[in-house]
Each structure stands twice: as C-alpha cells, then as structure tokens.
Amino acid sequence: MSDTQATPTPQRRAKLELLVRHDGDDGFDVHQVGSATAFVQSRPQRVAVESWELAEMPSRMAGQPSYILKNTVTDRFLLLTEPEKFLWEQMDGHTSLQEIATAYVLRYGAFDFDIIPVLMRKLQRAQLLTLTPTSRLRQALARNRRRPLVKAIETGFTALERINISSRNVQRVFSAMYRFGGFLLFTPAGVTVCLALAVAGLVAGVRLWREGGDIVAGFGGHALRAVLMVKLLFFATVAAHQIVHGLALVHYRRRVREFGFTFLHGFVPTFYVDVTDIFMTSRRARVVTAVSGAMVHLVLGSAWFIVALFSPLGSFTQAFAAASGMLQWQAFIVALYPFCFIEMDGYHVLVDVLGTPTLKQEAMSWFGSLVRRAAPRQFGRQEALWAGYVVLSTISVAAFIAFNVMLIVHASS
C-alpha cells in the first residue's frame, strides 16, 4: 500500500437500543449499548478444564518460554506466548475483558490493544473458545463463490475433502509394528545402518551422475509412463514416511491418535499421521520424531542408487532406480531443509529450536511491510532472523529449481 493511498473509513460500530423497565411501574430508561462496550464487558469462557492441557516449551531465542495449549477433545494445538498464557488463565467465564486488560497492564506495565482479540481468534480456531477454521484457500473460494467456476471448484474440493480413509484406533497397530522390529530404527545400530546406507548411496549417486545420459536412455520411448510409475511408487513411500513418524511416537511412549489418507485442502492427496501428542514431551523427542520420517527418503534413495549402480547400463531398471533415488533424495532435502517457504519437518525442528513457532508468518508479514515501506525502521535480532529466513528461502528455492533444470539438461545431453 502506498503512502498516498487514502485510509479507508473505519466501519461504524453497531449499537443496540435497549429499553429497561423500572421496578413496579411502567417507567423506563432507554440505553444505547455499543458492541465495543459489550465486548469489553464480555466474560470469555475457556473450555472445561478436562478438555485442555498446557505444556511449557523453553525458548533459546526470545529468552521467554512458549506454551503448547492442547484441546484434548479435538486434538488441536496452539502455541502461546507467556503473556497469552496469562490471558488464557484469566478467561474463566467470570472475569470481563476489561478486568483482564487491567490485570495485564498491572502485570506487564503496558498493553497491546490487539493482543486480546488476536488471542481470542486463535482460541476460537483451536476450538478452545468456539468455532472452527478452514484453510485460506477455502476462505478465498468462499468469498468468490458467486463466480460459477469458483463455485464448481469449491464443490469439487468439498467432495474430495470428504474422502478421508482414516482410523483413530491405530495405537495398537503402531505399538505392534514397533514391537516387531520398528524399535530397531531408534537404536544406535539402526541409526548406524541408515548412515552407512546413506554414504553408500552418496557414492553410488556420484558414480551414476557421470553416466546420466546413458541412464536416462534406459527409459527408451516410455519416458512418460516411467515418470508416472516413479511418482506413484514415491507416493507409496510417503505412507512409509508417516508410519515412521508414528513409530517415533510409540518410542517416546506417546499416543498415535490417527492415521489415514485424505485430500489436503481438497486437492493434495496425502497420507497423514497425527503426531501432535509429541508436543507434550521433550524437544529432543520432537526433533527425533520430525527427522525420523524424512530418514525414510534418505534410506530408500540410497537403496535405489545402489540398485541403479549395479543394474546393466542403459537398462530400464537402472533408469527407473536412478530416477526414484533422485526423487527420494530430493524429498529428503525438501523435508528437512527449513528454508524453502514450506512448513515441513525441518522447518518444525528449526522453529522448535528457536522458540519462534510462527517464524514464516512473521517473516513474510515483516517482508511484506518492508516492500510496502510500512516496516518500522528498527533492525534488531528479530528482524535479522526474519530477513535471514526470507533471503535463505528465496536463494534455496531458486537453487532447487536451477538444480532440477541442470539435471534435466545434463540427462538430456
């Protein structure tokens, strides 16, 4: 937004006119009650005490702890700052927002007028007060549903979203998988084998790189069919990725609440596992759980490269294995590399370590205001972190695209 743009006139706050009768006669007084007045006098009520849990997350970045607030009924989680936790504790249904704001000022010596409405929205979204959210894409579609095309897309997404093959009774299955061999993945021997495979895969990959052209020739005239098969096989390994996340949960004696298949936002087919219970444990457990899933791609990628290396040069098997290996390794990097604007496992590890759970959103918001020249002039530690995230992510995405272009050119030549 440019500086010359006119500021929109704020919408008039709604008022209700109420007639209040006197006791014992027909006399009355008429009062106008503004919504703002009613808002500050409202008494927000959090859900019942048995419906939520609170766990502390120490932060190394801001010097203040963060908190995980969990809705135990819906399994929704929310990250709260220390002041937000203070406000949450006041929302007992008896204390008005005005009193809560006063208590906040007495405790912190200052008051941010947005903090309570923002927190209430967060709580509503997590169903810790009321209401449920939808994705931003669906919000955008809902806003434009008057257009027939948008309406059709929305209807299609709604239909796809209803496809959800899942079970909430999977803890026993995951426990059994863990008992019958899954536990090996979390032993020093298991980790050593994975790392050895990774090194062997790297060596194989480097040797294969030199013969890229000959290997791709193995697809012959069936390149499209081969690519589809590679993608399909890769998709199956996404399920393995999620299963290993679940095994990590069992390893840390937490509960796998759900496993299934759905269309994320109505159009992204994906397997998923509910690992939210891990938030109630240590940071180490959260990091191991996040990384273990991605390790599936490292191990499988290495195995494919080794298969490719020992397959006849120029054969379909070699081409297929090499392409699968490359896809798996790329998936490994994308999953663990935090600077790519995608909130994958690596990103969650990073924000956990930094103690800034909304790093991407804050960084993008700051960058947006910087572009609009609306950002404050100060450039402290926080701004440096945001700038670092945006710059690194931009460079990384550009490098990723360039690498893939180079890969195609190298294979084609």
Binding site: L18, V30, S35, S42
Partner: protein, 166 residues
C-alpha cells in the same frame, strides 16, 4: 381535541390515507376516535389481544419487544403521522410488540369495524388504503432484515467472534 377539519387535514398528510379521495376520507375521519395518553403510558402491550390500529397525531412513542426480564429491544421510535397496530386489523393474533409513549401523546384509533365499513362503502378507497399498507409492509419487512443483520453484527463485534477467518 382536534376539530374534524384539523383531523381531515392531518389525515391528508398521512401516507396511508394520501390516495383516498376527499369525500371518502371525510367519512373515514368521522369513524376515527381520538385518544390522549400521558407520558410513559403503555398503549399496547406485547402478547395482549387487540383489534385496532393507531395513527400518532401528537407526541412520540417507543415500540419495543421483550428480550429478557425488564429489558426490551427498541424496534422503532415513532412520531406524528406514523402508525402501528395494523396487523391486528387482519388477524386475531396477540400484539407482537409493546408501544409506550415517551411524551404526552394523542393517537387516532381505527378499529376493524370501521375498516370493514370503508371496504363496503368505497372499495376504491379501501384499495388505495391497502395498496399503501402493502408498501409500508414491504418497507418494514426490509427494515426487519436490516435490523437482523445489524443485531448479528452487534453480536459478532460484542463477542469478538472472527467469522472472516472461517
């Protein structure tokens, strides 16, 4: 008390009677009763039976609907030339709202029998009356829709509910 000429002159300015010809309006005016009210007096009480409609000649009145306990929501404030209670001319349902003066006031009362006579004597005058009444009904229906929206907005703002994010 207003003279018949004053009443007739007043009725000519009331939207409901504007399209009624002079002789028929004169006949109708003769059937209207005048009623004086003190400040704070309840003329119509929500839930009670009624067979009359009223036209405000002088003063101002508040129309309200019970919400809870001693609290009622103010639906409208009306003054000279405005009318209310017309629903009772057509159905025998209880009054839908309470009407109370907030100053000394005078109203003209039109009952169901007078309405029936007008329809019999002058169908043209009755048609003009009903046409004007339907137009007012439509306006009030639209206003009710706006009021519902405004009350909903009030509720959202008052509770801090964020429906945009849904």
């Amino acid at each position: 008390m207003a003279s018949p000429a004053q009443t007739l002159a007043f009725l000519r300015e009331v939207r409901l009677f504007k399209n009624i010809a002079e002789p028929e309006l004169g006949t109708l005016a003769a059937t209207l009763r005048e009623r004086n009210l003190k400040r704070g007096q309840v003329l119509v009480r929500e839930g009670e039976a009624g067979e009359e409609m009223f036209v405000v000649l002088r003063g101002s009145m508040v129309i309200s609907k019970a919400v809870t306990g001693r609290v009622e929501q103010v639906l409208a404030r009306i003054g000279p030339g405005d009318f209310f209670g017309e629903m009772s001319l057509f159905d025998r349902s209880p009054r839908s709202a309470t009407v109370q003066t907030d100053s000394d006031a005078t109203v003209l009362v039109l009952d169901r029998e007078a309405m029936r006579r007008l329809t019999e004597i002058s169908p043209r005058a009755a048609a003009a009356f009903f046409h004007a009444l339907v137009q007012v009904f439509i306006e009030r229906l639209r206003a009710s829709g706006d009021l519902v929206a405004e009350v909903t907005r009030w509720g959202l703002e008052a509770t801090g509910l964020d429906m945009d994010a849904r």
